[in-house]
């Protein structure tokens, strides 16, 4: 289980998270939606300990992330696969070498096993035969899938997706959505998906939470979010700025 409790985070005078709380239960896929710059990626970075909260707590599998020693943090990270917005593939390495990085570090794999695991992971994301290609030779969608393959290669318990469908065409977006569902069904992973693509959020999520002004404004099942009465949430999911403005006016 992933739990963020009353998390505050500011960068200089800019308050990004302002009492943020969210729980992702075992086996669930939760989408965190929100406006650009709302702090969604900052939230993900707190979960893997890339950022520390100013106050509040983050727990992964019952472990308090900020209190972990460096070694404990690395061990915790072995349970978490992170799919970066722009894939963050190591551009001096082939796709196979990218995938091998996590496996080599986590240890316990022989050379043949690493090779098998790489080809199996690439097959899962429909990139068979791409082992010897370099990231620069891939399209945007292929890069995102290669990033996903790297994240699942060491069989993490949790998967964190940072804007997995941003900048992709509708067909490639549907392919990525299908892969997210496939990861849940085939590997049983617990996922937190950061997105502002509502179509994608409805497709892949058990629950959707909306981040607004540093905290969760509303959360619920896709149907509950679709039928929400909150003007800001409705404005966001329906893409209607006038509703958002109305909601802001109501709040103030």
């Amino acid at each position: 289980m992933i739990e963020l409790n009353n998390v505050y985070k500011a960068f200089g005078p800019k308050k990004v998270l302002n009492g943020f709380s969210l729980t992702v239960a075992e086996g669930d896929t939760v989408s965190l939606v929100g406006f650009s710059g709302a702090g969604k990626s900052v939230t993900l970075k707190h979960i893997v300990g890339l950022l520390e909260p100013d106050s509040g707590s983050v727990h992964v599998d019952g472990l308090h992330v900020s209190s972990l020693s460096r070694q404990q943090l690395y061990e915790m990270r072995r349970k978490v696969g992170y799919v970066f917005q722009f894939a963050a593939l190591f551009d001096s390495m082939t796709i196979a070498e990218n995938l091998a990085m996590g496996l080599v570090k986590h240890g316990g794999y022989g050379k043949d096993e690493i090779r098998e695991r790489i080809s199996e992971s690439l097959k899962r994301v429909e990139l068979e035969g791409f082992e010897s290609r370099y990231p620069a030779e891939l399209s945007g969608g292929q890069r995102k899938r290669a990033g996903l393959a790297r994240a699942i290669a060491f069989r993490p318990k949790y998967l964190l997706y940072d804007e997995p469908t941003s900048g992709l065409d509708p067909v490639t977006t549907a392919v990525i959505d299908r892969l997210i569902l496939k990861m849940r069904d085939d590997l049983g992973v617990t996922s937190l998906v950061i997105t502002h693509d509502m179509g994608s959020a409805y497709n892949v999520s058990d629950r959707i939470a909306m981040l607004y002004e540093g905290r969760v404004l509303e959360q619920g099942t896709p149907d509950e979010i679709r039928n929400t009465q909150n003007s800001i949430v409705r404005g966001f999911v329906e893409g209607k700025p006038e509703l958002v403005e109305k909601g802001v006016a109501e709040q103030t």
């Binding site: 990270r77 992170y82 990085m101 996590g102």
Partner: protein
């Protein structure tokens, strides 16, 4: 908060700038501490060390030798011009040897490598920072300092003295060839001058300086790369800073070593 008056604004700006300087200084100290701490992670940095020694060291030899060769030629000719009539010509060997070993070999090579190596490290790590590759390393349970910085720093420390030994040798050799061909000196005269005031400590001094320059160039380049913000512009700023700061530190340490090691010799 009350806005600063026109009188207070310059003081506020100085305060902010000096605060920023000390904060950066503190971060740099923390970074160096982290580099030393990451030396323990031998299994991460050792497999990458030899690749970095080749990239940062062996690949830098041609530019270093080019620089040293021409420096040797100019030193010999300028020495002869300066000494005309007043000082025996074999003193050209003294000047070429001493100047190359004590000063120009280490310092010119250091400044050239701050451009070639320091800029390369800052640009590479800066690009990795802004494209989240360093974050990706962390999420894969790698210590990014052990993986990216330690092999580069060790390669700098180990390889730069070797490069400077070659540079000194080529500079002196070029000075000798110039003296023989253009100043009508014999090789024996040049070597006599070279040996006249030579001290074994000169070589040690040259290598101590060079080792410190290797450390400065690689640590400053890595620090700037690790702290890059923004996109392409941020990488450009980091690269420029790496070259400027490491060049300034090289000159500062050059003076410092002279005070510490040559005074009282």
């Amino acid at each position: 908060m009350r806005a600063a008056s026109a009188f207070e604004k310059p003081f506020a700006a100085v305060g902010r700038a000096s605060g920023g300087f000390f904060a950066a200084f503190g971060r740099f100290g923390g970074f160096i501490f982290e580099v030393f701490r990451s030396l323990r992670d031998v299994t991460t940095w050792l497999p990458l060390l030899f690749g970095q020694m080749r990239r940062l060291g062996v690949d830098s030899i041609p530019i270093a030798l080019f620089l040293a060769g021409f420096t040797g030629i100019v030193l010999a000719l300028q020495a002869s011009y300066t000494f005309t009539g007043a000082i025996p010509l074999y003193f050209v060997g003294v000047l070429v040897g001493k100047t190359m070993i004590l000063e120009l070999g280490p310092v010119l090579t250091g400044l050239a490598l701050s451009g070639r190596v320091g800029a390369n490290i800052a640009a590479q790590l800066g690009t990795m920072r802004v494209s989240e590759q360093i974050d990706a390393l962390e999420t894969l349970a790698y210590n990014p300092v052990a993986y990216l910085v330690v092999p580069r720093v060790l390669a700098g420390i180990l390889m730069f003295p070797i490069i400077v030994i070659f540079s000194n040798a080529i500079g002196i050799f070029a000075g000798m060839i110039t003296s023989i061909n253009m100043l009508e000196m014999s090789s024996q005269e040049f070597i006599r001058g070279l040996r006249l005031f030579h001290e074994p400590f000169d070589i040690t001094y040259s290598l101590i300086k060079t080792t410190s320059f290797g450390l400065i160039i690689t640590v400053v380049g890595s620090f700037q790369g690790f702290n890059t913000q923004g996109g392409a512009e941020g990488v450009g700023i980091a690269t420029t800073r790496a070259v400027v700061i490491s060049s300034m530190l090289i000159l500062l340490f050059d003076a410092l070593w002279a005070v510490l090691l040559l005074q009282g010799q």
